[in-house]
Structure formats: structure tokens, C-alpha cells
């Protein structure tokens, strides 16, 4: 008996390598498409992918790869961020010095920090382009409305991550940008003050104190922003990203033009032609491990239109990630992340500018903090969120701007939106605004008749006019979205390049007065 036990024991020891490997690897190496599909289906990391993707999903023009680019940049940011956390100290006495040390002495510190900063800016850009692409290809329509909302949530989280990270170096740039941001959070008090109700109802003060943990930017704010930046917002973003990808699967894959595949050009849908999509997009996909010829699946996705995810999709994803990495590394190599003097509450930056993606809002904030800080952003976010619910025309996803009419409307809206935005800047710059002409006018009037409100109203009016004229909610949505997009671009440019000390208008930095 003992011999058998000992023999078994030694046999097991001898088999350790094989049995270890066998317990870990459930399938052998993938030697066929089916085996690869099996792996994708059953692997914990890969199974977020479907086993097969539609050929047109892989086309660059379908998505411009902006979604994967955003994800890649997020991964780069997470990795570089964790590395920076090894040395960064979130205390007002030590934060600035720790960033200096990261730049000067930490091995690879300067490079990692630069990459982190650049990837952050790039991610805001890719997320914006992604949103524009999804809108333009009408990929928010049924059944994808909820995913559009999830995307809006991701957009807000991205901006939040960028904003909270902006404070951490604790230099003059950070300190004053966040002072402005916190005061924008407190801007409802502009309205409650004008109404005289602040002592009993002060949401502005509440928001500001929630953000700062005090009445001004200090250690409390730094701790909160750090917590948000490294734990709360990344976790929330990861969760929403998972939901976002899962919904893509469940909603029938990426929005893409249907119709017979052609080897040249995009496949425009011609309803009724053989092989064209039915009028109802499917609501659910089934997990398919393998496609056998000549058996149509219940999802109405012609298996012939699809290619295996491994290797085609994954190689494309790796390519996009590598391009994002290369761009981030290149920028990180040649351009240093800025770091100004140590934060000094007694010496305000002049001009004190918010991060670039908020400069458009700061333009409007310069007339009314409440309008620029609360009203317009809320209208924009709510408006964006409601688009899929207000534009219910059935249309297939994937055609940019829904074809010729849409493109025309887009061009017209671009023109209108640009002119309106330029006027919204030029008129107050040249002639002043309400308070210049009526110094003691109530702030309520300024809130109601401020360049920001008027611009928003102009865009809304234009969009309604398009609706009336064309009878299509989609076209009016295109009009509104395009207006806001060009307005955002122009106001951001003005706030970034044409505003100098005391928020005065200057054509170039050379003509700034010296203080």
C-alpha cells in the first residue's frame, strides 16, 4: 500500500509541469478559425469581443477608429498614471516639489509625465471626434439610444478626469484654473443673489464647497481632486466602458452601412435590393462560435459578411493602439508638460485660463458665470442626451450625415453657426454689453440676455427652422449639432488665442500690455 502511495506521489511530482499547464490552459493552441473563435468566446479577457465582425465594421471610414483610440489613450493614461503615483505626493507642501523631482531625477519620469499630459489632451480630442462621428453616422438611433447616453456619461467622466488631474501639480496654472472652475460651480449664486434668495437657497455655494471642501482652493481641494482623479472617476469610467462595449454587442454591432458589400466605396443602402438589411435592426446577437456555410443565423447578419475577430479585429485594434502610443510617445519626447511657479494665492495669473476644453465656456462665463458655467453646459448636455429620443426617424446607421440633404444642411449650419459665434464674440468686444450701457442693471437681465444665451437661442432657432423647412428631425438634429460643434471650436479658439490680460481682446500675444 505504501509503495503505491509513494509511487503515485512521485509520479505526480514528475508530472507537475504538464499538470500545471493543463490546469491553466483549457484549450490547446488555436489552429483553426473555429478554435480561435472558441478562444475568443471563452477567454476572460477576450470575450468582450464577438467572435466574428462585420467586414464593414473594420473599414476605417466607418468609425475612424476613434473609439479604440480613446480606449487606447485611457490605457496609456492609466499605466502612466499609476507610475506617476509612485512619486507624486498629494500634499500642498510637497506636490509641486514631487512633480519637479519626477521631471528631473526619477528614471523615465520626465518622459512618463509628458506622455501622461499629452495623452490626456489627445483623449479629450478623440472623445469629441468620436461623439461627432457617432452622431454623423446616425449610430445613436434605435436600438442604440442607451449606448449614446452611456457615451455621454463617458464624455463627462473624461472631462472630469482631465479637470481633476489639472490641479495636482499645484502650480500657478493649476491653482487659478481650478479657482475659476470652482467659482463656475458656485455660479448659481449669481442667480440666487439676483433673486435675493441666497441666504435660504444656495446651490451654488453647496456645489463649490462640495468640490473644494473649503471656501477656497487648498489642501482639502487637493485631497478631493486626487481621490476623484485616481480612484473614483477611473473606476466609474471603466465600468461605463464595459457597459458601452457590451451594448455594442447587444445592439447589433457597430453602426455601419448595410447593403451588398462592394469592393469599391461605401455600400450605400438600396432598400429592396438582394442582400440588403431588413427594415428592423435586430435587437440581439447570439454568441456564435463558428459559422458553417449555408445555414443562416437567426440574427439576420449574413455570415458571409463577417470575418473572424481573431485575427482581423484584434490586429486592427493593436494597430490603432500602437499608433496612439507612437503619437503620445513622440509628443512626450519633444514637448515638456508645463509647470509654472509654485501656486501663490496672493499672485493671480493674468489672464487666468481654464483648461482648453473649457475655454469656450469661459468666453461665455466672462459675461455671466451662471450662463456660461451652468446654463449653456446643461442645455448642451441635456440636448445631446435627448437627441436619440427626439429624432426617431428610421434610418440606417453608417452613412455620414445621412446623404446629400444632410450634408447640405450641415454646410449651411456650419456657416450659420460660425457667423453667429463670431458675432457673439465680436459685438461685445467692439461695443461692450449690457453692463457697459446700463451700469446698474439687474444681473437677471444679463443672465437672460447674455451672449451665451443668445447664441444658444440662435442655434435652437436655426435648428427649428430647418425642422420646419425640411420636416425631418434628423436634419434638424444635424443642424443643431453642427452649430454647437463649430461654436465650440470658434469659442475655444477665441478663448485660447485671442484673450489676454483681464480677458481683454488681443489679436496676438505680442500686443499684450505688460502689467
Amino acid at each position: 500500500m505504501q509503495n503505491a502511495g509513494l509511487a503515485a506521489f512521485f509520479e505526480n511530482v514528475r508530472n507537475l509541469p504538464a499538470s500545471l499547464k493543463g490546469s491553466f490552459v483549457r484549450q490547446g493552441p488555436a489552429v483553426s478559425d473555429r478554435a480561435r473563435s472558441q478562444t475568443v468566446f471563452s477567454n476572460v479577457f477576450l470575450h468582450l469581443h464577438s467572435t466574428r465582425v462585420h467586414i464593414r465594421s473594420l473599414r476605417f471610414s466607418t468609425t475612424m477608429a476613434m473609439g479604440i483610440a480613446s480606449l487606447s489613450l485611457f490605457i496609456i493614461l492609466t499605466v502612466t498614471g499609476i507610475l506617476l503615483m509612485v512619486y507624486y505626493k498629494p500634499s500642498v507642501d510637497q506636490a509641486y516639489d514631487s512633480i519637479k523631482d519626477i521631471h528631473y531625477v526619477v528614471p523615465t519620469g520626465r518622459f512618463i509625465r509628458n506622455i501622461h499630459r499629452w495623452a490626456a489632451h489627445l483623449m479629450v480630442v478623440t472623445v469629441l471626434i468620436h461623439m461627432a462621428r457617432v452622431f454623423a453616422t446616425a449610430s445613436y438611433k434605435r436600438p442604440r439610444e442607451f449606448n449614446w447616453l452611456v457615451g455621454m456619461g463617458l464624455f463627462v467622466l473624461t472631462l472630469g478626469l482631465s479637470f481633476t488631474g489639472y490641479l495636482l501639480p499645484w502650480d500657478q496654472l493649476a491653482y487659478w484654473a481650478i479657482t475659476i472652475g470652482a467659482n463656475i460651480a458656485g455660479s448659481p449664486s449669481e442667480l440666487t443673489d439676483a433673486l435675493g434668495i441666497t441666504s435660504s437657497f444656495d446651490p451654488g455655494g453647496f456645489q463649490k464647497r462640495l468640490l473644494l471642501g473649503a471656501n477656497s482652493v487648498g489642501q482639502e481641494a487637493l485631497t478631493r481632486f486626487y481621490l476623484l482623479h485616481v480612484v473614483v472617476l477611473p473606476l466609474a469610467l471603466t465600468g461605463l466602458v464595459a457597459l458601452h462595449f457590451w451594448r455594442i454587442r447587444k445592439d447589433g454591432g457597430l453602426g455601419r452601412p448595410e447593403g451588398p458589400p462592394t469592393t469599391a466605396g461605401k455600400g450605400a443602402a438600396v432598400p429592396g435590393s438582394p442582400g440588403s438589411a431588413p427594415s428592423e435592426s435586430p435587437r440581439k446577437t447570439y454568441g456564435l462560435m463558428c459559422i458553417v456555410r449555408d445555414r443562416k443565423s437567426a440574427t439576420n447578419i449574413d455570415p458571409a459578411d463577417t470575418v473572424p475577430s481573431w485575427p482581423h479585429l484584434m490586429r486592427a485594434e493593436l494597430f490603432v493602439m500602437m499608433v496612439c502610443a507612437a503619437i503620445s510617445l513622440a509628443l512626450g519626447l519633444v514637448s515638456n508638460a508645463p509647470l509654472k511657479e509654485l501656486a501663490n494665492p496672493g499672485v493671480p495669473e493674468n489672464p487666468a485660463k481654464a483648461p482648453w476644453y473649457f475655454l469656450g465656456l469661459q468666453e461665455m462665463v466672462s459675461y455671466s458665470a451662471f450662463v456660461g458655467g451652468m446654463v449653456v453646459p446643461l442645455i448642451a448636455l441635456v440636448g445631446l442626451a435627448l437627441i436619440p429620443y427626439l429624432d426617431r426617424e428610421r434610418e440606417e446607421a453608417g452613412i455620414y450625415l445621412s446623404g446629400g440633404r444632410g450634408r447640405r444642411v450641415a454646410w449651411q449650419s456650419l456657416l450659420f453657426g460660425a457667423v453667429a459665434a463670431v458675432l457673439a464674440v465680436a459685438i461685445p468686444v467692439r461695443f461692450g454689453w449690457l453692463r457697459t450701457w446700463f451700469p446698474s442693471i439687474s444681473q437677471l437681465w444679463i443672465i437672460v440676455i447674455s451672449p451665451g444665451t443668445l447664441l444658444t437661442a440662435a442655434y435652437a432657432a436655426w435648428s427649428l427652422w430647418v425642422l420646419k423647412r425640411s420636416g425631418s428631425t434628423r436634419l434638424s438634429a444635424i443642424a443643431l449639432f453642427t452649430c454647437f460643434l463649430i461654436g465650440f471650436v470658434i469659442l475655444t479658439y477665441v478663448g485660447s488665442e485671442l484673450r489676454g490680460p483681464n480677458w481683454g481682446f488681443y489679436w496676438s500675444e505680442g500686443s499684450w500690455p505688460v502689467h
Partner: protein
């Protein structure tokens, strides 16, 4: 294409595809290797291990000086200057002088006049440290360089 139910074999890997994958792998591996260098600091945020203790004139023959902030004892005689660490070799507490000997308050180790273990859980004698001279003549002790006991430096 045939109408078989057999799974199709994977097409032969081409050079381009392999080169791409391998290049990506090297890039990723290189990034990880680079990032792995970050946690090991290149400078320590504390006073260094090489420090000056004074000029040779400050240690005439017969000196036996305890430099508390550096945890080191410097003695001098006709042979020159030597330095002995006061860090207990058991678990790092600082030993205190006990007559001519040294005693560690943490676990009761005792060391003799030359650092040899007399009693206690300490596994090794107290370390003697290298003494040298800086360019301007001051005596320098290097806490990272151990020498044989009673090694003197002649200034």
C-alpha cells in the same frame, strides 16, 4: 470555396504579419522594461551614505568621538582615524555606549570595545566603515563600505 463542414485551416502566416506582431511585441516589451525602471529611485530623498565628519586636526590621537546624528563612532590614534557603525547588526537599533563597550536597548545584544559580539542575538560584530579624505582634506566616512575591524586611515 468548398462546401465542407470542416473548419478551414488558418492561412499560412506571412512575413509581413509576423513582422508586425513581433515588432509590436518588442515595442510593448520595451515599454514595460522602461517603465519597470521607474520605481527604483536614482537619488534618495535623505542624507547620503558618504558624509564628512570633520578635518583631521579635529581628531588627534586618543580621540573617541560619538557622532550621534550619523550613528557612527570615530576613534583616532597613532595609526590614524577609524570609524565604527553604531547600528546593531541584529535588527538595526542604535547601540549606546556602556562603559568601554556598547549595548543595544532593543534585544539586549552587547558588543565589545572593537565591536565584537559579547552577548545577545546579534549575528555579527558591529561594522567598521571606510574612512577616506575628500579633495579639500576633510575626513569622509562611507556607511556603505565595510572594512576590517581596526582599519585606520592615515591622513
Amino acid at each position: 470555396m468548398s462546401n465542407r463542414l470542416e473548419p478551414e485551416p488558418i492561412p499560412r502566416r506571412d512575413f509581413l504579419g509576423l513582422a508586425g506582431i513581433w515588432a509590436a511585441g518588442v515595442a510593448i516589451f520595451g515599454s514595460i522594461a522602461g517603465m519597470a525602471r521607474l520605481p527604483k529611485p536614482s537619488v534618495l530623498p535623505e542624507a547620503g551614505h558618504r558624509f564628512r565628519v570633520g578635518r583631521p586636526e579635529e581628531f588627534p590621537a586618543g580621540s573617541n568621538v560619538l557622532i550621534a546624528e550619523r550613528n557612527v563612532r570615530v576613534i583616532a590614534d597613532a595609526r590614524g582615524v577609524a570609524a565604527m557603525s553604531l547600528v546593531c547588526t541584529h535588527l538595526g537599533c542604535i547601540v549606546a555606549p556602556d562603559g568601554m563597550d556598547f549595548a543595544c536597548p532593543c534585544h539586549g545584544s552587547k558588543f565589545g570595545h572593537g565591536g565584537e559580539v559579547v552577548k545577545g542575538p546579534a549575528p555579527r560584530p558591529l561594522r567598521w566603515l571606510e574612512v577616506s579624505q575628500a579633495a579639500d582634506g576633510s575626513l569622509v566616512v562611507d556607511a556603505d563600505r565595510e572594512v576590517e575591524p581596526w582599519t585606520f586611515y592615515k591622513a
